[in-house]
Symmetry: C2
Subunit: 219 residues, 2 copies
DNA sequence: CGTCGTCTTGAAAGGTTTCAAACGGCGTGG
DNA sequence: CCACGCCGTTTGAAACCTTTCAAGACGACG
């Protein structure tokens, strides 16, 4: 919980919400008001207290987060990813193992959603929650019915589309600020195979990922 | 949409809801009132009109349903399963491919939730939705990080627990009215491997599935 | 300059799919 | 009543995909 809000940080969220529903000036204003109080998380930290303290959602201003479930034997699976502009709605009153922990993948900045949002904003947040569910379903299909390279490609497309809506990606290029290890935990693969899969996609001309930048070839 | 409600059909749902929250007499009464109008689906039929016609949820009185996503190349993945006593809350205003179709696995009987539920019932339905999400997360972990026999065993445990809460299963035995083919689509496996995995579990004494009845050995 | 985390590659082992065939139960029609 | 066909189950063998174990290369950082 620190100061240091940069109003520009809110732009991805505004872009994303505007893609769902037409926001009025008042809506943008109320978002901007809340973004003055910034919550900071450093890489690796868990977002837990938030849902204990308030039932409000959080807006990701900066940095990526992951919703992760850790099994015994060190296996871990990432359930969902949050990028700047996303709204994180904590699942209340549920065993944290069931709901999955939310951890910061880098240094992260968040702010709360307005305490009394207007109808429009409320609808927008509702739509966000529906999109959350859509991502979980997509993840299930990906893990259940796709091969390694299909999973990789499909996930890259999903991330590209999400970043693009938030205004954070050029047409087919975006910054991917995570390790291959982490991508492995998303795609249900080992880090080694993730690396090989990436090589295959590069050799077949589908996509490249170098220097933290992904470029997807024309579909 | 037919008549033929049997009040006893409502018991699984009452059991399940009571496990979440203490229901008052009025709550049970209002549930019972709605269960007079029964919606019937025959095996293979899709539950679509419901969410177009009303935003109310549906209570499963009889039969199993699956939420399924169908890929091209004939691959299909079951995202979630509904058993008697479950509450199905359709995802509104979302591309049906994204949300997944809900299909009846056998002849199914449903009724709607009350149009104006009391606070208690409203809370209970809210908790049901949270449990829905929990199941999706569990499914993601299962597909991403478990082997075939782990998936099978874990899923059987989940179904046993759910049926038990609804009052539909003895301690370690329950009716499983689906084909191996369908279980394969749940677990992200082929039908052939599902069969082999079942054999492994039987030989290692973990569980048996014969004549439509599953028996799980002591944990 | 050494260390650490990440990326990369090889070879072998393991798990899962694919293709093919056969078996069993069960309802239908001859 | 029996034969047939259909659907779901079961099994085998080979191909394929992914993991595991091991080692080396690279870059960032103290």
């Amino acid at each position: 919980m620190k100061q240091g809000a940069n109003p520009a940080d809110l732009q991805p969220a505004i872009n994303r919400l505007s893609a769902l529903i037409a926001l009025g000036d008042g809506d943008v204003e109320s978002l901007r008001a809340t973004s003055n109080q910034v919550f900071a998380l450093s890489a690796g930290q868990e977002l837990i207290k938030l849902s204990q303290v308030t039932s409000r959602s959080a807006i990701v201003l900066k940095g990526w987060l992951a919703r992760v479930r850790q099994g015994r034997q060190g296996k871990r699976q990432i359930l969902d990813i949050y990028v700047p502009g996303d709204i994180i709605t904590p699942t209340p009153r549920v065993d944290p193992y069931v709901a999955g922990a939310i951890v910061a993948l880098q240094d992260v900045a968040l702010c709360l959603t307005p305490a009394s949002p207007g109808d429009t904003l409320r609808d927008a947040f509702q739509l966000c929650r529906q999109m959350d569910e859509g991502r979980l379903l997509r993840q299930i299909y990906r893990l259940g019915r796709m091969t390694a390279s299909e999973r990789m490609y499909d996930w890259m497309i999903e991330i590209r589309d999400r970043l693009r809506i938030a205004g954070l990606a050029a047409d087919n290029e975006f910054k991917l600020p995570v390790t291959q290890d982490l991508v492995a935990d998303i795609l249900g693969l080992t880090a080694v195979h993730t690396n090989r899969t990436l090589k295959d996609l590069r050799l077949s001309g589908k996509l490249t990922w170098r220097m933290g930048k992904v470029r997807i070839a024309a579909e």
